[in-house]
Amino acid sequence: MNTLFEYILKPVMTFVAKPHILLPASSVALVLTLKYYRTVTKPKIAATIGLVLAGLLVVSCFDPNFKKNILKPDNVPIVLLLFGLLFFLWLSLRRAAINDEAAERGEPPLEARMKRESVLVWPDLVMIELICLVLVSAVLVFWAIFIRAPLEEPASAALTPNPSKAPWYFLGLQEMLVYFDPWYAGVLLPTLIIVGLMAIPYVDTNPKGSGYYTLKERKFAITVYLFGFIIFWVVLITIGTFLRGANWNFFGPYDKWDPHFQQPLKNINISEIFWVKMLKQGMPSEWYIRELPGLLMAGAFMLLGPLILAKTVLKDLFRKLDIVRFSVVAVLMLFMISMPIKMLGRWLINLKYVIYIPEYFINI
């Protein structure tokens, strides 16, 4: 049993947890879940998946490093988030599967079958609220009794902890700092997330699926949203919290965070790849010549990107939406896609910056 844990489970989990494996793997898992949602959400199958994951968590706790990391008081909410999210993802897709199957038989969704029935708020709703309130209070009191709020050494501007981490809900953004500069990962992306979320009701003109669970009638909207929420937010938070240790290096889930571990930095810019490696000459001194390849690539991405999207993935959407709405969707999606593109660039060719203009702090 112990050998199984040491020689099979640990190496496999450590391999899967590497950012360049975990992100693509969870993306594939999400796509497969959405494609086969009717099968995956069958109670028995979903319960098996949930139990296997919970089992992995429990078994892994036999490892002291893993246990220490998981049970850090401020990390408890992330474990709750992961399992809560899986549960609610199952619940919503299960209801969607039931409703979509009903729709194929020409029947109304679950929610509509009860529609005519209305109940009095007192006592029906007030009772539900009261029960929720009591349950939440109970959970919170137990949580507070059994896990003390952390209090470390007094604040000192002279002693920098390694690693220095933002609060857990911002760790996805901090993880993006591996791939982007602060102005992009810390300012532009958060702003676009907020703006993009606000834009959702105005760009999603699909009248179907209002007020009931469905996947079939809103496949595109739900896929994009879940990618943003689960992959680019929750999975990145998980990586940032549990798998980034000293010097923001990657550590496997069972590794000790060794502060002396250094990863060689060998990342290079597009300009260097173009001028030095491909043309075998020195770097031009003027920044606008030096960065021309990168600028052209980024320009083509933002200008040709919408056109390509309109002809391919978003063909249907382009027909349905007016030009303003379509542009907003396309630009927001391009910024979203820019994250995995830069990550792939880093993993595959050690790409540092596409555009590198330190003169004006414009590095992408």
Binding site: M114, V121, A149, P150, D181, M198, G211
Partner: protein, 272 residues
């Protein structure tokens, strides 16, 4: 003509119980304008004549209140906000937002003050609130409840989500320990890189007047947030005021709009 036998009273008409007596007093009647809510009329009045309950309509769609539909996440988020307000006020009795005492006050809270659970409740409640607000948004998205006529309420919700994160972020600094100061340092370092407004942001170096840089470490947006070039005493006071007064006041106002709009836009969403 046969006399109809009188139905015997279900209860012996004895002395009224203590509760019944209380309910018959002038004081009780002045507070609750309706009888015990066991009839349709009194149940409607229980909701209508109560300022807290009247956020609700009198009747709701049965499918709308099913736990498997709403997950009660919005309600739980609001409840957690109230928990945060109550525990936060209790914490304010003991905590002073100045660098020389902040840390000691927290230690005092942990070790000597009765009901020392307040800080734990406050911190875990805050974490839980971040979770529930995300799950609430997730539910609203999955049920398409942002679709017309509820577009604007979704926007208000996004702002409330942002405020929840900012509330949590500003509160993170207050214990004034290593965890707090460095988490806020990492977070607020981002502001340095704000385009044009942070001294390391794109384009900031272009803003000059007679050759002098306008945006420096002593005048950029991070300086405004922290009241200094690093996370120090001024930052502690600013974050305290933002955390205890400024953001909660805005959040309460927007919550009022949010709840009001739920009703005005047709109640909890459901299929047409």
């Amino acid at each position: 003509m046969a006399t109809v036998p009188q139905t015997p009273p279900t209860k012996e008409p004895g002395k009224p119980g203590l509760l019944a007596k209380v309910r018959d007093t002038q004081v009780w009647k002045s507070i609750f304008r309706h009888g015990y809510p066991d009839t349709q009329r009194n149940r409607a009045l229980a909701v209508l004549s109560n300022v807290f309950l009247h956020l609700h309509p009198v009747r709701v769609r049965k499918s709308g209140i099913a736990l498997s539909f709403t997950w009660c996440m919005g309600g739980v988020t609001f409840f957690l906000f109230l928990v945060e307000a109550v525990t936060g006020i209790l914490l304010m009795f003991y905590y002073r937002p100045v660098a020389y005492s902040a840390y000691n006050d927290i230690q005092e809270l942990r070790e000597t003050i009765p009901l020392g659970l307040m800080r734990e409740l406050h911190r875990w409640g805050a974490h839980a609130m971040v979770l529930t607000v995300w799950l609430h948004m997730f539910r609203v998205f999955m049920t398409g409840s942002y679709k017309p006529p509820r577009e604007f309420n979704w926007v208000v919700g996004v702002v409330l989500l942002l405020l929840t994160l900012l509330l949590s972020f500003t509160g993170y600094l207050l214990p004034w320990d290593q965890l707090a100061i460095w988490a806020i340092t990492v977070g607020s370092n981002m502001a340095r890189a704000t385009p044009l407004m942070g001294h390391e942001g794109p384009g900031a170096s272009l803003l000059t007047l007679d050759g002098e840089h306008l945006v420096t470490a002593g005048s950029d947006v991070r300086f405004a947030l922290l009241g200094g070039r690093f996370v120090g005493e001024n930052a502690l006071l600013r974050f305290y005021v933002l955390h205890c007064v400024f953001i909660p006041v805005i959040a309460v106002m927007l919550m009022a709009v949010h709840f009001w709009r739920v009703r005005k836009d047709g109640g909890i969403s459901g299929p047409l």
